[in-house]
Symmetry: C2
Subunit: 226 residues, 2 copies
């Protein structure tokens, strides 16, 4: 499948690399290709610049978000939450229309320091904001409840015996995303319901951040024991 | 131990019955003893009136919240979140001072229908509000992330192989609550940190409600797989 991964951070890199490994035709979309490829400094977390990662993944293309979205059959929003709407607008409503958008972003607000709070929560969610702004897109919220490395390789932890959630208004889109998740190694996939249920998974992030703080290890996930 | 359980709903009843069974001297506190005992109708969920439950538990006393708190060594807030502060004020600051308060309440707002939203969240929490209002009390948030029946008998599900969280500023108080949780059957107890971490467990409730909606079974809990 032709897949556009919007976002060049750790989530975008993990997801793109895994999709490439699984044989998909992957393009990473970024708002300014030239600027992204020209960065030579490590980022603020000390991770190597994107161009270095891209050089190690010759099978993955890099393009503007609009070009990536236009060519794709399925689009993945792996941007940071604060920039998601702007990036999707740059990708272009008509390039996204009718397509499945897997929304991994979380509305994290780092302005008050760590752990982050949320810039939308409780009675609304980023997933819903995106769905309202792009009514022709089939938004499926998924994978936003764990570390980037676990998202694409759940079996590295307890043989994959833990849970991932999907939320979205379109049943066929959720079925397609569920298949994609299964190809990553997920087996316990809970369909929470329509896109308003993204409020549930997004407002879990404050607990996620504190479990990380308490356990000092980001490679954990929830299992819904039932 | 002399324990006051404030609240006569399902959480108060479950916790009081379990503590009684474990040999503690339990008093259920209610704001108006006469009115509570005089109710003969089932509640809005069809549950039998409190007096009937009390009659089946002759070892458990019923008293005003102030009397219950005054006599207790440890106090449990099992009121609904919207009424917690008022009930604790009725219990009396001096009756609570210096004591451990296990806060199980969640700031659920049912005014917009189901599933509920939260009346405080994200940058504050009910646990913190209670701690600020009663600075002499040692507030420990715990047990607010699962069904009332699971709270006091975790082993009924998967042999107890799932997780409970504690949050609070006082280490000794958390150690005491941890022991109490162990006596209920809990083995995976994660100390999230100070009382601000109650934001994490309280804002999990929107996800809890939607997992319940999706699975149609309230007897589930999270295991933090790590």
């Amino acid at each position: 499948m032709k897949i556009a991964v919007l976002g060049t951070g750790p989530v975008g890199q993990s997801v793109a690399a895994r999709l490439d490994e699984l044989g998909h035709e992957v393009t990473v979309g970024t708002r300014d290709v030239e600027a992204t490829m020209a960065r030579i400094e490590p980022d603020s977390f000390g991770r190597p610049p994107f161009a270095e990662w891209a050089g190690q993944h010759p099978g993955i293309s890099v393009a503007s978000v609009a070009e990536a979205a236009a060519a794709a059959e399925l689009v993945i929003n792996a941007t940071n939450g604060a920039g998601s709407t702007t990036t999707l607008e740059a990708a272009g409503e008509k390039n996204l229309a009718g397509k499945v958008l897997v929304d991994i972003a979380n509305p994290l607000d780092f302005s008050q320091g760590m752990p982050p709070s949320l810039f939308v929560s409780n009675t609304d969610s980023l997933g819903e904001q995106i769905q309202r702004r792009f009514p022709e897109v089939k938004v499926v919220k998924a994978l936003n409840t764990m570390n980037a490395y676990l998202m694409v390789d759940p079996k590295q932890l307890a043989g994959g015996d833990h849970t991932v959630f999907v939320s979205g208004d379109d049943g066929d889109a959720k079925a397609q995303v569920t298949e994609l998740l299964q190809s990553f190694g997920w087996s316990d996939i809970i369909d929470l319901g329509d896109i308003t249920t993204a409020r549930g998974t997004e407002t879990y992030l404050p607990l996620w951040a504190r479990i990380w703080g308490a356990t000092q290890n980001p490679v954990f996930n929830l299992r819904v024991v039932r």
